[in-house]
């Protein structure tokens, strides 16, 4: 197990270096002089220009600059936003809970619908239900989610008036952030209606963000389940006279869930990609919307830091999934 852990960890190092290189060169590849870009339209006088070059260390060799950058990153210093002058890490930390809250709701939504749908589709193979699930999941997988979001707003917010259009909570509530998760904070605040309002704001973004993972999880559960149901030990279980429910829910499901867990881990990337679009559509104040705004305002330190942080989080989750997988399935450890 230790050997497996160490090999897996050693794979992380080059990926980390690659990501810091990408983030580092991000700013340097932008056409034009970074100081002039920061100064904007008004321009800057040569003395100040030279002073700023020195201040940011841009007058030194690129390799040295990279070394300095790595040193800073390892100390948790990701630079300051050019617009707000706030440290990038602090801005990220303030907005990240909103994205996590949304992503968690989305993945729970996807699991609650996707796993049962996949199981039933596999058990009733080639039935109308099976074809229905496969059709719907292929559609979900092909869905441009930015359009899906607009359609849901059109139907539920505009036509029916059931759900709010944007934001995390109605403006009349002011909730002091404790955990950063508004569903929890609104309950803690004890304010009447606040929790209801947060939930109402969560529904549509959850569906939009959860659609692609839902499609993928349903398909994966179905195919894993089909594979397991064809195994000899399932026939043995049936031959022992166990009820159909017990065979499926206890014997088959346990083994079928192993590949599904891997797929769930891989959804983190999908969720962050989706969060960028979902947050833009619903004006959800999370890191996705923050990054898009950073691009529009040419706030490169924010973009640089944000990309690095999101990349690191995905990397960490992938590592976690692999290790969990190694624990659940000893065959992986040995290979």
């Amino acid at each position: 197990m230790l050997r497996f852990l160490l090999t897996r960890l050693s794979l992380v190092v080059p990926t980390f270096i690659g990501m810091t290189l990408l983030a580092f060169f991000l700013i340097r590849l932008v056409p034009g002089d970074p100081i002039e870009t920061m100064a904007g339209e008004r321009g800057i006088d040569p003395a100040r220009h030279a002073a700023l070059l020195k201040e940011y260390g841009l007058d030194r060799p690129v390799l040295v600059q990279y070394g300095i950058y790595i040193g800073r990153v390892l100390h948790g210093d990701l630079g300051k936003s050019m617009i707000t002058q706030e440290p990038v890490l602090r801005e990220f930390a303030a907005l990240f809970p909103a994205t996590i809250e949304l992503a968690l709701c989305a993945i729970v939504f996807a699991l609650l619908l996707g796993i049962p749908a996949g199981i039933i589709a596999a058990v009733r193979r080639s039935s109308v239900f099976d074809h229905g699930v496969m059709g719907v999941s292929l559609t979900g997988y092909s869905m441009p989610i930015f359009w899906w979001g607009l359609l849901l707003i059109l139907l539920f917010s505009v036509q029916l008036g059931w759900t709010p259009v944007s934001g995390r909570i109605s403006v009349q509530y002011f909730i002091e952030p404790v955990t950063g998760f508004l569903t929890i904070d609104s309950l803690l605040s004890g304010e009447k209606g606040a929790f209801r309002s947060t939930v109402a704001h969560l529904i549509l973004p959850t569906i939009v963000l959860g659609t692609q993972p839902l499609a993928i999880i349903a398909r994966m559960t179905r195919s894993a389940m089909l594979e397991v149901l064809g195994e000899d030990y399932i026939r043995t279980a049936r031959a022992k006279g166990l009820s159909a429910l017990r065979v499926v829910a206890v014997h088959a499901l346990r083994n079928a869930l192993i590949p599904v867990i891997t797929v769930i881990g891989l959804q983190v990337g999908v969720l962050f990609t989706g969060a960028i679009l979902t947050e833009t559509i619903f004006s959800w104040p999370g890191v996705g919307k923050w990054l898009i705004e950073a691009i529009n305002r040419r706030d490169y330190p924010v973009l640089q830091g944000g990309v690095l942080l999101l990349g690191l989080i995905v990397m960490a989750v992938n590592l976690l999934v692999d290790v969990t997988y190694g624990i659940i399935n000893p065959r992986i450890r040995r290979s």
Binding site: T15, G18, P31, L154, S223, L226, V270, I276, I295, L310
Partner: protein, 268 residues
């Protein structure tokens, strides 16, 4: 089958866009702002799917949009497949440090959320259709590299490669005319599925204002333009997205079909 038919249909629509479309895609008509589709009150058959906020015919824009979207999908996949095969072959043949360098780079690309990486590339290069296509091509590249490398490694251990090598075939010949043709099946499947990813990602970039720029009739860009009219004119929002969905769905169906046909092992 349905996928193949729709793909052929959309290819024909794109090819004959100038014949099929009733108006040029950029023609504005001051008299008809946000006219609803023909079957709704206030609509007319002159504009079967209505008009947008500056009086352009929706149907014509959608038809010309097919051209743009297919171009994006095919160009992106072509670029990714050429570079991907080259890198995959090199990684599979030369092994060692070269292989490690290439595969680790691909791991970095795969680790970052796809759209995020595309956004970063566009942020560096500047928004626009060409840069968006380039960005999406980089994002989908690892799939082709991995598939090629895996196929090359399986194939090179087979007898026919040893035989060719014994006959004195050079490295380039081994790579291109012996091994590569035998790696084609998974690449074709991936390419077909890749077109759908490319169209979807490019449309997402267009929607975020980082892809094709207005007044281009790219479906994602059209949706971005239409966002502010979502409350007043459902048709400007509904149709472009529907076209994206149907096209992507068709390519996915085609890819699934090709996989079943070319790789019977995977068929269940």
């Amino acid at each position: 089958m349905a996928g193949l038919l729709f793909v052929i249909a959309i290819l024909l629509v794109a090819a004959f866009a100038n014949v099929l479309a009733p108006y040029p895609p950029d023609l504005t008509d001051n008299a008809v702002f946000l006219k609803p589709p023909a079957w709704q009150a206030g609509g007319s058959w002159a504009y079967p799917l209505g008009t947008d906020a500056i009086g352009r015919d929706m149907l014509s824009r959608l038809i010309f949009g097919a051209r743009l979207s297919l171009l994006i999908g095919i160009a992106v996949v072509a670029l990714a497949i050429v570079v991907g095969i080259a890198l995959g072959l090199v990684a599979g043949f030369f092994r060692g440090v070269t292989e490690i360098a290439i595969m680790r780079l691909m791991d970095v690309i795969l680790t970052l959320p796809s759209l995020l990486l595309a956004i970063v590339i566009v942020a560096i290069l500047g928004p626009g259709l060409m840069n968006a296509m380039l960005a999406v091509a980089v994002v989908v590249l690892p799939h082709y590299v991995r598939i090629t490398r895996a196929a090359v490694i399986t194939e090179t251990s087979k007898d026919y490669v040893t035989a060719a090598r014994a006959c004195g075939a050079g490295r380039l010949r081994l790579m291109l005319s012996e091994v590569l043709p035998n790696c084609a099946a998974p690449l074709i499947v991936q390419a077909s599925l890749g077109v759908s990813t490319a169209i979807l990602d490019a449309a997402a970039l267009g929607f975020l204002g980082l892809g094709a720029q207005p007044p281009a009739s790219e479906w994602g860009t059209m949706l971005a333009d239409a966002r502010e009219f979502v409350l007043r004119a459902w048709w400007v929002v509904t149709f472009p997205g529907l076209m994206i969905l149907l096209t992507v769905l068709a390519f996915n169906l085609l890819g699934d079909g090709l996989r079943d046909a070319l790789d019977p092992k995977l068929k269940r």
